[in-house]
Symmetry: C2
Subunit: 216 residues, 2 copies
Amino acid sequence: MSKPEASTPRERYRAQVREEIKKHAWEQIASAGASALSLNAIAKRMGMSGPALYRYFAGRDELITELIRDAYRSLADTFRARAEAGPDLRDLAHALREWALADPQRYFLVYGTPVPGYQAPDDTTRIASEIMAVILDACTAGQVPDEPASPLEEHLHAHRDWAGRHPAPPSALRRALTFWTRLHGVLSLELAGQFTGMRFDPAHLYTAEAESVARD
Amino acid sequence: MSKPEASTPRERYRAQVREEIKKHAWEQIASAGASALSLNAIAKRMGMSGPALYRYFAGRDELITELIRDAYRSLADTFRARAEAGPDLRDLAHALREWALADPQRYFLVYGTPVPGYQAPDDTTRIASEIMAVILDACTAGQVPDEPASPLEEHLHAHRDWAGRHPAPPSALRRALTFWTRLHGVLSLELAGQFTGMRFDPAHLYTAEAESVARD
DNA sequence: TAGCGTTGGTGATACCTTCTAACCATCGGT
DNA sequence: ACCGATGGTTAGAAGGTATCACCAACGCTA
């Protein structure tokens, strides 16, 4: 999942055990949420007792941090993979939804409720901007160079540090952000179960929102 | 906050202690998130020891459920209060953002990451539909009776149980949902700190999204 | 091949949490 | 003045994180 190559057999064993720990952690998170993750329970399921896990992770926080990192990487990978088939916003939107529905708690680990004190590791921001670059590509692609910029677009263009060195016009900056926020809006509410009870199909709403960004 | 009137002095005292417990709970949630809520810590801060709180709440879950209920009621109240000044979507959007920024963790308690097993109490769905009714009012107000309905609007109209007996045309159903999802998309990402690092002002993006629903 | 440092695993322990059980005090109505 | 309902206490079970001291086993090196 992360580092397939290891030189010595010791390191290979270590990496393998770490992966097994993470595997059990994901199962536990998927079934009861991240807040219910228990190192003790993982250890028991792996046949070893309690404190052994501390040889592989400094503590619960470091394990969760590692899972967040993996989730980020996984999302970035699926985005990049999809983008290689052509920079289409609808495709990206569909890939995002597939990825989220495959494991809702994994989505929430990345985009869900944050713990007030917690600081995401700095390399996740690098992955986040990698994701944003793919979106910016797709937003820049099908667009005519420049129409007159709206006030919002002026503002975003004035603070475009987050776009890095990407040559996206102001309108693409705005479209990339609304792509992100609109899809997250529908998706997170759907995954949170806020639509259950209402009988409509969230997929239709989702594709309509994706369309609203693609055509404008 | 919830039941100001009580007959006997005993019940009055009980209600008062319950409110104080909730007050401390909110402080704790605001500073460390809902997952870090500790009944023991609350009891200590109130000068009484441990299990006394179980005379007032059956357990941690019931306390959190009560907080969620209060949060829902608070949001519905601010919505209704704002709606009495006239059914304007921009005003509602502004009221929502104010309410969310006042206490981000309270927002996440309502719309944030759900615990897989947990079931929201059924009376929250009643409050949720009350909120939705206000939005539907505002969406129906400034609208011409009927343009040709889009496929999404047809679908929503075919499954309009969630709108109750509200006389909203198909276009209003769609606008109400996108109002909800688009604003939640910007707001939740902002509150989660996903925009920190990017230097732009989320307020501009938020008002632009509110505008996008108001004008269409 | 013998030695030995590094590494992985163990049980004991401290300290936290939720929550139950048993006991006691106090309030308020009859 | 009595007595049940109510509120509060301590003790304790069960389970969590995390540290410590100890032990075994692996693998490199002399």
